[in-house]
Symmetry: C2
Subunit: 341 residues, 2 copies
Amino acid sequence: MTSDLPTYEDVSAAAARITGQAHRTPVFRSRLVNARLGLEVLFKCENLQRTGAFKFRGAYHALSRFTPEQRRAGVVAYSSGNHAQAVSLAARLLDIPATIVMPHDAPAVKVAATKGYGGRVVAYDRYAEDREEIGRTLVERHGMTLVPPYDHPDVIAGQGTAAKELFEEAGALDALFVPFGGGGLLAGSALAAGALAPDCRLHGVEPEAGDHGRRSLAEGRIVRIDPPRTIADGAQVTHIGEHNFRVLRAAAPAVVTATDAELVEAMGLFAAHLKLVVEPTGCLGLAALLTHAGAWRGGRVGVLVSGGNVDPARFAELLASGDRRPRPDGPSQPPPPVTKI
Amino acid sequence: MTSDLPTYEDVSAAAARITGQAHRTPVFRSRLVNARLGLEVLFKCENLQRTGAFKFRGAYHALSRFTPEQRRAGVVAYSSGNHAQAVSLAARLLDIPATIVMPHDAPAVKVAATKGYGGRVVAYDRYAEDREEIGRTLVERHGMTLVPPYDHPDVIAGQGTAAKELFEEAGALDALFVPFGGGGLLAGSALAAGALAPDCRLHGVEPEAGDHGRRSLAEGRIVRIDPPRTIADGAQVTHIGEHNFRVLRAAAPAVVTATDAELVEAMGLFAAHLKLVVEPTGCLGLAALLTHAGAWRGGRVGVLVSGGNVDPARFAELLASGDRRPRPDGPSQPPPPVTKI
């Protein structure tokens, strides 16, 4: 049952496999942010990763381990978000045909980005069709391999390479704050922390609207919820993955939450002081630190900035409004897909 | 008359002096921008410089050359923009008292940033008082040294270190696009290009609303204009500096212009593809390249991104509106100071 759980050795092997393909992203600091929080913050900037998010690490690693047969038959992924772009680019680099199953009403910009990276997009009507059935057909009829966005040992190991790089570059950290959606980045970070920084207190940060991860770890079972309403679209998942749960149950990170208002505040700090565009989900770590800085005063704290893929118009809207509520869903704003991370 | 003109040796000496104080800023690339323009662009990211703009290079260099007497008496600067923050921080690092003369209605955020870096702010009523007289009093009565924002050999030499780093890191470039306001960054870049990249075609980029730099070089004399109405507030100068003019007359760069609409388009590309917040003036290089890319198709082109200091609310407003006109001046929007660069 646990034999397929990834370990730090898998993270280390993933790091070797993605070298030269994934960026070794920079670590940024801001004296003004440090002064405001009363501690030293080290930001690992995965918004500057290829495809604009850490997802490329896990996707490339998973695809790089395909057998020759798997490579020929191709990869399939369901996603309208960062995982789609990551699989699309990784597949192109590895010369593997990629099919991305996306809702027919996915934002045109994301469809275009996914196609731009080389993936074939299969649209489905999210109100009338079952994407899992579409996926099963592709897998069973065409022998394609499904790469899920977070619930997979190779994906988790790949995502762990971001924290590994941070620990290697930053030295001792008192705490690390990591966005917590399906649990890929957090589980990978837990593996890296366990080996490289056992004294670093790991925190997963969920949107307040969907704290099922915290509840899952507290209750010792995977808690399922309705898709949470939050601007952190990358964390709009209904439950964490099985592999992720098992890794995290062993690592026992702290889990804290951030409100949409705190995400917007963090987004403004990133823009003003670090000159960085960070998507709402990528703001989870800093947003939580705005509340929890007191516990780490005078210390050194890492923050994983998971991605920067936010449409400039939407980014502007969030920055300008200081909007403290998630947008109401409506005809032009369909409910988010479950695995949008 | 020309004995005080800076040379490449001064740029090289400045580089040694600012090492360890100024950041060696990263060079960013974007495959999507490259694909759109049909060439390879290398962005030298001075928006990630200390104080958020290249100005720190020249200010630190100039102040580092003060005599002990000058250090004791202190430095004075007029500016409500990036030069103020740069002088303020450089002075603090060098333990020199700094006085910044700012209009009483300067944005509170800029006053706070200047004070936050340690400078003393002297406010004046821009409608009733003469800031040059205030400055003269500080210089004559208290023996302070005035450091101008661009018309100074040490400032020019310091600004040239950005292009020097880019040439060293990027290798051969076919062209380099540099924002052109008072001429500090462009003159410094010309010195670096002359020594390190004589085959690289240097371009200064002015706002279309104020192309006095182009006219000055064409007419062989410093042309003066009224403060131009443009969103590129760092280039809202009425004339280029005397030292800058003489360096540039010898270097003979191409001078092109960008409209406010092109600046906003470039700002959106920076946000979407490079995940960077760039102030309007910092967008001049990419904005011009949107028009002039055809001339460099298949080549390698450098773009100096001069700064990222734009209030997040203003940034959001520009991104959201795609506003193609400068804002009308009004009571809440006083006319820009001449040396705001």
